[in-house]
Symmetry: C2
Subunit: 353 residues, 2 copies
Amino acid sequence: MRVTIADVARLAGVSKATVSRVLNGRPDVDRATQARIEEIMAETGYVPSSRAVDLARGRTRTLGVLAPTLHTPWMPELLQGVADVVEPSGYGLLLHSAAGGAPALERFAANVRGHAVDGVLAVDPGVALEHLRDLHRDGLPVVVVDTGGSPAPLPSVGADYTDGGRRAAELMLAAGRLRLAMITGPEGDPAGAACAEGFADRLTGTGAVLRASHVTEADGTEQGGYDAVQRLMRARLFFDGLFAHGDPMAAGALRALQEAGRQVPGEVAVVGFGDVPPAAYTLPPLTTVRVPWSDMGAAAARALIGRLRGEPVAEEPMVFETSLVSRGSTPPVGRVPGQRNRRAARTAELPAF
Amino acid sequence: MRVTIADVARLAGVSKATVSRVLNGRPDVDRATQARIEEIMAETGYVPSSRAVDLARGRTRTLGVLAPTLHTPWMPELLQGVADVVEPSGYGLLLHSAAGGAPALERFAANVRGHAVDGVLAVDPGVALEHLRDLHRDGLPVVVVDTGGSPAPLPSVGADYTDGGRRAAELMLAAGRLRLAMITGPEGDPAGAACAEGFADRLTGTGAVLRASHVTEADGTEQGGYDAVQRLMRARLFFDGLFAHGDPMAAGALRALQEAGRQVPGEVAVVGFGDVPPAAYTLPPLTTVRVPWSDMGAAAARALIGRLRGEPVAEEPMVFETSLVSRGSTPPVGRVPGQRNRRAARTAELPAF
DNA sequence: CTGAAAGCGCTTACAG
DNA sequence: CTGAAAGCGCTTACAG
């Protein structure tokens, strides 16, 4: 708190108001005066106190981000998308992890009510949703990013999970897989349900079948996916295509299949969901339904900032399209609608060795 | 900015000073007065303005976190560690990603100089290091988390990368591997160098050898690791143990080995570094040198907050120990110093199927 | 184009 | 135990 606007004003022989004017780039200042003031600011290394500016202006230029936990596989990508638009816009990013449970939410609420942030971007708010709706009703700009497919009663961005399931089904069909299995979950995840619905829907009327017996739920983890496949195999169920709602579960499924000596994708084609870190590291690399996490984060941030600037925000949720990323866990097939091909070319030209 | 301290004071028939006293839990307030004020605060839903408090107190209770990018594999874990100590301490977390290059750093600097934060926690500051040192010299509390092994001229926390390499070597020895190879990099990464040094050091005087020809550098990515192994194999070099400085590279190595039909861990034992997301998802799951990212983040945060409370901060870097996490990419061997066994038991009792 | 003054909403000695 | 006043460092009408 060294040099203040008062110091600069005194040194320049003007009033604080005039310094404030050049600080804020107002045009109604004499060229010479402005130059002199700027020079003094440079000489003294003056930097306005954001605390004081915030108080005087009644806003903070800071956005609160509420995230359930920071190590969900897709969180880094989403957060980077948010940061990429928030920071260049001159806003700060105040990060709150709700991982601490009720006390953490309490602190978040206190921060918000204390006007530490101008708006809130909430990722999968869960139990905090009700609270956010109240805040929104009371005038706080709020945008939620919904990775769970549960439509929020607030401006929100999400993805078309049903269509994601549909794309997975189309790939199975294109690969000629007729006896399908699916790992859903975690329990109560609406995105999982939407996804499963899309998958099943697209299958009806085709030659392929997805029996209820072949649908099993897991907890979203690698181990969960592993155990799920073990259950299917213990029950002596046959399947030549497996769709897992979540790449970690798909990774676990690959492990179980490999241990059982079942060839992927030869005997079983495996498709995951999310295109998050595990996907590119499995063996074979995982074909998956890509959700544009970073785009979603960026869109939410843009909507929030727009709202702060007084622009209207769409009331209906912004829904992003998913796409298919083809890697090694499904056989190479002709182009499937919405499919992206990654690394396919490069893999094809590998030396036999 | 609805109800202010003045409103509460008026309603309670006291001065703002008295309200401020109960707000800050000072003992020198009449019980009855305090009760009345608290009641009114509750009724009116009064919440102090953090902007005003910050200005009046001359601090923000906010910590700036400067991170190079948010999607480095270990960043989420580190950040969660930071958040887990910062938030319960009542501090906010202002996140800055330096991914935007110079302009991003410029905004960071402006925020800091504008006193938007009370202290800074910088992760691998790189080019910003010099600037941070200046700030630190000028009195700003700074702690750096160094994942690269480059000792910062500032209070810092890091890990013992040399010892990490040593642990990897010990595991190779315990597994009886005598012809070793290593993938280093990315270029110019001091941690990589430290790691390689520890690995080579531990090998000298044993029967095992790591020839210069068997050391190859890659860029840290999965594809980089894949390409590196291809290079080794094209050169017709034999090795029965491979250490990669970085789990993503190790994952790529596994892919290349598998394509070439080389059994892991039977013919080649593979050890990675970091224990970051790819590690648990590869096939076989990756044995790796664990770096305690979350502990490191937490320690840095604690040191910074301690510093803000006036506690002295150690000038020497806080160095964390690494440990070995045994998974499937190395053969089961007797206990190696510093080794943790994960999932080993569970894997062993899998049904043959 | 510029200044004096009030205001943003708290905290903190200083008196009593 | 409590209040009046000054202060934190800006911004913003209001005059001129």
